[in-house]
Symmetry: C2
Subunit: 381 residues, 2 copies
């Protein structure tokens, strides 16, 4: 008998009390009862986004909010710049192309992170770039950006907007929308927000709202102006996934109670414990600058990461994620974001040790767990 444990970078585990809250009998969304909850959700999201701007709730996967950014900010033929260092950078490129934008990419080796300097140089070479699309944590590689520096670089170009996919990082790592100069910040429910998938979130800066007025791409369900107008009345333009909104209110209360800086700190400690454990086992991390939300681990030649993920899931109830696209079979990814504590991270590390031992990989049993315990201990956790 093995219990099921989910260590994937979306969906992530949802607290039992939130699952049960969402299992209560349905209510109608156009009632004072629901409007009150919606108002609390809108306020709580501002805190997690670190913004004074409205945060809109869409019923869609995170990709829907990415499309909303593209369709509301760009017109056909507009120049834009996409940082492409993994599957989700690719998605921004595909989206911008679908809407007829003139797309330039900054190709980044999967696992590496773009520098502010590279973005700066690209903007200098094409001053017509209207939007820069970046990914705060590239979920496919676990690579993290220095968003503060990138924000400062883009801010030098008053006509250019900075759009950030923070789907697998908001609520896991430090991210300050207003202070860092982000013009569109995007996230989704099923990562550090500790909810099932189905909701996406997006906030725009005043500068981005001006661009919305000028953008001529067709849009309706993702027309952000409609969300902004109804938001002022504690409403949504279309029937929202209201059980998830009810859960959102609960998790936002939890995040507020823990304190956002403490949430970030917890993720930093869990990530550091995981990374130290992998190093102690002789494994390499894929990302040059790893995110605190997930750790992508390279397996040595001859070991198949897909088979390892499958065996752990089917034999021990532990679900990690494998690699996507060109990394399939080469890496596995351990998420430690959202509703996760130190002991669960130790379980994940023990699972890696056990599976590697099964595969005959030479390791000192317990070495990974020991390294992680050391990190947890010294963090006082």
């Amino acid at each position: 008998m093995w219990k099921s444990r989910l260590f994937t970078p979306g969906p992530t585990a949802v607290p039992d009390e939130v699952l049960l809250e969402m299992a209560r009998p349905l209510i109608h969304h156009r009632t004072p009862q629901f409007r009150k909850l919606l108002k609390e959700a809108f306020e709580g999201l501002k805190y997690v986004f670190q913004t004074g701007q409205d945060v809109m709730i869409l019923t869609s996967s995170g990709t829907g909010a990415m499309e909303a950014a593209v369709a509301n900010l760009l017109s056909p033929g507009d120049h834009c710049l996409v940082v492409e260092g993994g599957k989700f950078g690719e998605r921004f490129r595909e989206l911008a192309q679908a809407y007829g934008a003139a797309v330039k990419t900054i190709p980044v080796e999967w696992g590496r992170s773009v520098s502010a300097g590279a973005i700066e140089a690209a903007l200098k070479s094409d001053p017509a770039v209207k939007v820069v699309f970046t990914t705060l944590c590239e979920t496919s590689t676990g690579a993290h950006l220095d968003l503060k520096a990138i924000g400062a670089a883009v801010r030098q170009h008053p006509e250019t907007l900075l759009v950030v996919d923070a789907i697998s990082s908001l609520g896991a790592v430090e991210c300050r929308m207003d202070e860092w100069g982000v013009d569109a910040l995007i996230s989704a429910s099923q990562k550090a927000f500790m909810l099932p998938p189905g909701l996406a979130f997006i906030a725009l800066s005043p500068k981005a709202w001006k661009a919305v007025e000028a953008a001529r791409s067709p849009r309706y369900y993702f027309d952000l102006s409609a969300y902004r107008q109804t938001l002022a009345k504690e409403d949504t333009p279309y029937t929202p996934a209201l059980t998830l909104v009810i859960g959102l209110v609960r998790v936002l209360r939890m995040m507020k109670e823990e304190g956002l800086e403490n949430v970030w700190r917890r993720h930093r400690i869990l990530a550091e414990a995981t990374r130290e454990a992998m190093r102690a086992l002789g494994l390499k991390l894929l990302a040059e600058h790893p995110s605190d939300g997930l750790t992508a681990v390279l397996l040595p030649e001859g070991l198949d990461a897909e088979a390892m993920v499958k065996a752990l899931r089917d034999q021990s109830g532990i679900t990690f994620a494998g690699g996507q696209g060109k990394l399939k079979g080469r890496i596995f990814r351990i998420a430690h974001m959202g509703w996760v504590d130190g002991f669960e991270v130790l379980e994940a590390i023990a699972a890696v040790e056990i599976q590697l031992a099964r595969l005959g990989y030479g390791l000192t049993p317990g070495a990974g767990v020991a390294a992680a315990e050391k990190v947890l201990l010294s963090a006082g956790g």
Copy 2:
């Protein structure tokens, strides 16, 4: 102490066992465990849609699937015809306009239903019409269409597609996609499907799939070709609202077990009971051809339907819907779709009697309930 009872045309009540099933710990969507469920959901949807075609599951409100129909079937400048007899006909018009189509409307008085003849005449006067957009049940008025006759009329025009919003009717009333010649059939989770909002469903005919190839409107999240491709591998292109998909599997099993014709029959009986009760209370129905999913009731002059809905909700825990748009204050709507049985309909009718008595409206207490009981009895229910 009053229990909460939801009689709104979306969201509707969700069976307890489905709520609890959706409250189980999260699983990952790219696992054999979830693929098996997704496969069952795809098969079950075909049964409810009465189609041999693929039914795609979108994570969005029903409006998202309406937009998918527009964006996948039309190019800018294409001629289309919208039947506009309420808020959801309006929505199709707005959507087609947002995508730059040349839109003609057949205006229908709110509460009336378009005839197949009127559509036939409009198609004759403009043979370039590529798509006809209709609403099987106009949720804002409770008006039902003779879709079989309309399908037969549109089928005379081999270049024209028939798109049907069946959001508040599929699973409540008879609807046979393939047999009746529907080219795009749309529904959503929070109506007769007995689920919370968050999922939308759409199926296309082979003729419609050909049109998808030719349509040049920009689309990505709602690009139906991507859904069709992944569907073949028991997958979705983007992370689905998977707890709702898990619930969907459960409700589809329930619908299959009851038998779709029995489901339709149950709705017909409950609707007839509600209608007879309203007539017995001296109230008029708004719809000329009322849907079996909901009943829109006109209040006599001097009685404010908004105030009645609010009082019932706040004083007795019974939630009906009021009127939308131009019907605000004039009607209230009782939904009897999805997870509803005869005794609950009697509760709803008793609530109307009690509230009308509170307002001083002259009625014979119990007359509505008696009329409904008679219908239930003669139906053997």
